[in-house]
Amino acid sequence: MDRGILLDREVIKMIPNDDKISGIQVGIFIYLTVLGVGILTLPASVVKAAENDAWLVTLVSGLLSLIFIYLMCKVGEKYSQYGYVGTLKKLFGGFLGTLIGLVTFVHFLVFTAIELRIFGETTKLYLLTNTPLEFIILPLLLIAAVHARAGIEPIVRFFEFITPMVLFVLIIFILLFLPKSDYSNLRPFFSQEPIKYLKSIDQTIFAYAGYEILMVIFPFIRKPKEVRKPAIIAMLFITLLYTLVIIQVLARFGVKETQSLIYPTMTLVKSSDVPGAFIERTEGLMMALWILFIYTSVISFVYGLSVVGADVLKQRERKHIISLSLPLVYLIALQGDSVADVFKISDLLTMTSSRFMFMILPLLMFLISTIKKGRNRSNEG
């Protein structure tokens, strides 16, 4: 067994730049990609849709997304050597595959932009009141661009490096808010019509956006068969975290107040007192630490769009795709005058490309791949 570990080690060191990642690294990748601006805005939209049972809806839609991850893994294991666009072409044929690849590219592009915009707005609100939005977004985007050019291995190693810090932040985050909450705000349970649950689950599932990156990074995974478990565990962690945050928000503010807030999570942070009070206003500090989560999401999306873009355009150099699409991301991020506009765009995205990207597409891919497998088997027989 020892020698086995040694061999693995030797593989890692012998090809230092093989640009592949291990199963656990995929878990970390998914975890930090999905955690982003979603958590800042999620409670408002979910509570609007499902009121008291928002936490239940969040939990269920998180568990639902596990199924999609499972499907993605199933397909990815089989087709990992073809790459994302290659798999699409294999399953849907050349033209349709390229088209879906293009849709994915645009999806990542717009998603990065929205992520950046919401980040810029919140940073402006809580940290840098006088700095123009353009200058808040630019450095983060530039760093992400330079970083993404280096390939997936440096990205994942960076993720690994910050993971302990991130866990530390989250633990503090949760501990801070446990005491002062009024859990009677959560009652009554199951007060909505069943159809409303379905609708709100359909909406909430987009708070978990980001795990579609899994389909893209499959060819960069050293052992594709070992991915399923870490990816699902990562998603489970996110589901729990989101549920916990929603419960806290509801317990602290109640339904009516939560619905009127733009960033309920930040308000929650704001409303807490740090015992000992060396830090008076936590939300600024929290926002600063939250930049890490935003950055990890942005870099993942930028990397994802570079991979998909290069595949669609049959370019071997991903670097050029990044350089070319960055101004586009920057421009899209600056569209719209207010947060409300941005939310409108993001809702539109949610309803169209996101639904397609991580609900319909994995299902389709899984079905077609299963059918093809069956057909192959019958041909052989």
Binding site: D2, T123, F158, F161, I291
Partner: protein
């Protein structure tokens, strides 16, 4: 091309070219002429012409560097047997003159180490290294008598890495003593000490140390490649060599570990790393290195595990403070005064009310002054050094504040930063921290806390992408490895449970403590 007439008189029969191979002639006069012409104007060389076995005996000739060779040894155990004793005992010169050289080698030279060389260049190089070259007429080889002995500093406590508990011996400038210090700690025939010379003119001795069945051969290969590429006139210190071994030079962070302590090198060798000793330098190099190794003190392993863990926490904290404290202060004062308690914010604002500069300028003034004091303090001889302390303490601590140039809080921040930066055990890292601190100050003064995060992200990306001989510098943190993390940046478990060598150095024999049968090797 003779510009001066007098050059014509002396005809050089032989010119020294490194790596040339001029054979030693049988005729001793020719050899003497050649050597004397090469070593012309080298007044530190001693030439001795004599005859073996009395006035009728064979002509011989030896030369050595005065001060580098052991004169007593040459007089008593080389010259005396050859010149005097050989006359008085049998067999006489007449009886053995046909196999004189063999007789001299086997029964006249009473020294432990002799060897024979065939070229003049080798003989010269040996003599210049402190050995004595002996040439005998009608013999086309030179006998090299090992006679190296020069005034050397005795081993003393390493001043750059002191410990309270642990061995007090440090490396010295003589490579032979240094290898002995390590050999004393590793009595294993598998400890290899491979010696080569580097530097065309300096011909500095370099020793590469490793334990043969633990070390990762790829590291050795890479080292070999890098050493072969070096073509420099002189290596004066291991610092010269270090720069040739690092992959990336545009980084504040070192990719080679530097130490003055033989126990640190020995511990590294046992982990499967490679030590490099350079003659004339009391600093050994160790490759590959990780950040963990840099933040460790040898004392961690001599103290009890809990205490060692605590001091590692303190060191990591100190490094963080040393890097970001001034930046954080600027960010809070000029961008986010609402983060700190309002009373504190008010008192900071009150003390800064008379200061005419923005926090950024204030910080730069203080940091630059501090760097000046520190730089001056290193250069000054010790008796004057305390003057700097008084001047620095009084002028900066007191006068600057009362003159209203800086606020007292800034003084506190800079002082804490300074203390924290000295708590980091490695001088190399302390130096890197100085640069980083200024970058964080700039970031904070542009973007506040966001700027600190941005610079932090950039720095983290840089850290995780650095590699030292194929090993990521941030291992075992990123990439994470639990086995190695147990003795890593923030914790040290008991020796009892450190059963394996750190995996990230890629040791071929991973078992440190034998337990079950197939483990022990």
């Amino acid at each position: 091309m003779n510009l001066f007439g007098n050059n014509k008189k002396k005809q050089l029969t032989f010119e020294y070219i490194p790596d040339a191979k001029n054979p030693i002639e049988e005729d001793i006069d020719e050899n003497i002429n050649k050597i004397k012409s090469v070593l012309e104007n080298c007044n530190d060389i001693v030439f001795r012409d004599f005859k073996i076995g009395g006035v009728e005996g064979r002509r011989s000739f030896l030369f050595y560097v005065d001060g580098m060779a052991d004169k007593v040894l040459i007089n008593d155990f080389v010259l005396e047997p050859l010149m005097l004793i050989s006359r008085q005992v049998s067999p006489s010169y007449e009886q053995i003159k046909n196999f004189l050289v063999d007789a001299v080698k086997s029964s006249a030279l009473a020294v432990t180490e002799i060897r024979e060389v065939e070229t003049l260049e080798e003989a010269l190089m040996a003599a210049l290294s402190g050995d004595t070259a002996l040439m005998i007429d009608k013999h086309n080889k030179a006998i090299i008598i090992s006679s190296r002995a020069w005034p050397a500093r005795g081993t003393s406590e390493p001043s750059s890495e002191t410990v309270i508990r642990g061995p007090r011996d440090g490396f010295v400038e003589t490579i032979r003593m240094n290898t002995a210090l390590i050999r004393r700690r590793i009595r294993d025939p598998r400890l290899k000490v491979k010696q080569t010379q580097l530097g065309i003119r300096s011909q500095t001795d370099i020793a590469i140390l490793y334990i043969d069945d633990i070390v990762d051969k790829r590291v050795l290969d890479e080292l070999d490649k890098k050493l072969k590429k070096i073509n420099i006139d002189a290596i004066l210190d291991s610092g010269y060599l270090q720069e040739f071994l690092e992959n990336r030079n545009i980084t504040p962070l070192p990719q080679v570990q530097v130490t003055e302590r033989p126990d640190v090198v020995a511990a590294a060798l046992y982990e499967g790393r490679v030590g490099i000793l350079v003659d004339n330098s009391p600093f050994a190099l160790i490759i590959p290195v990780t950040m963990t190794a840099y933040l460790q003190s040898p004392e961690d392993y001599y103290a009890r595990p809990m205490i060692a863990t605590l001091s590692r926490w303190i060191r990591v904290f100190a490094m963080l403070v040393a890097i970001i404290a001034p930046g954080l202060y600027i960010a809070i004062v000029s961008f986010h005064p609402d983060i700190i308690p309002s009373k504190l914010a008010i008192s900071i604002a009150a003390t800064r009310a008379t200061v005419p500069f923005p926090a950024f300028i204030e910080a730069i003034i203080m940091e630059v002054t501090f760097e000046l004091i520190r730089e001056a303090g290193i250069r000054l001889p010790r008796p004057i050094g305390s003057t700097i302390g008084i001047v620095g303490g009084l002028v900066i601590g007191q006068a600057a504040v009362s003159a209203g140039i800086v606020g007292p809080f800034m003084v506190i921040v800079v002082a804490i930063t300074a203390i924290a930066s000295f708590a980091v055990p490695s001088h190399e890292i302390t130096a890197a921290v100085r640069i980083l601190r200024f970058i964080f100050i700039i970031g904070a003064s542009i973007y506040g806390l966001y700027g600190i995060m941005l610079v932090g992200i950039c720095f983290a990306i840089h850290l995780v992408s650095l590699k030292s001989f194929g090993v990521p510098v941030m291992a075992p943190w990123a990439p994470f490895e639990w086995n190695d993390f147990k003795d890593g940046l923030v914790m040290r478990i008991s020796m009892k449970y450190m059963r394996r060598r750190p995996e990230h150095y890629g040791p071929r024999d991973i078992i440190r403590q034998g337990g079950n049968k197939d483990d022990s090797k």
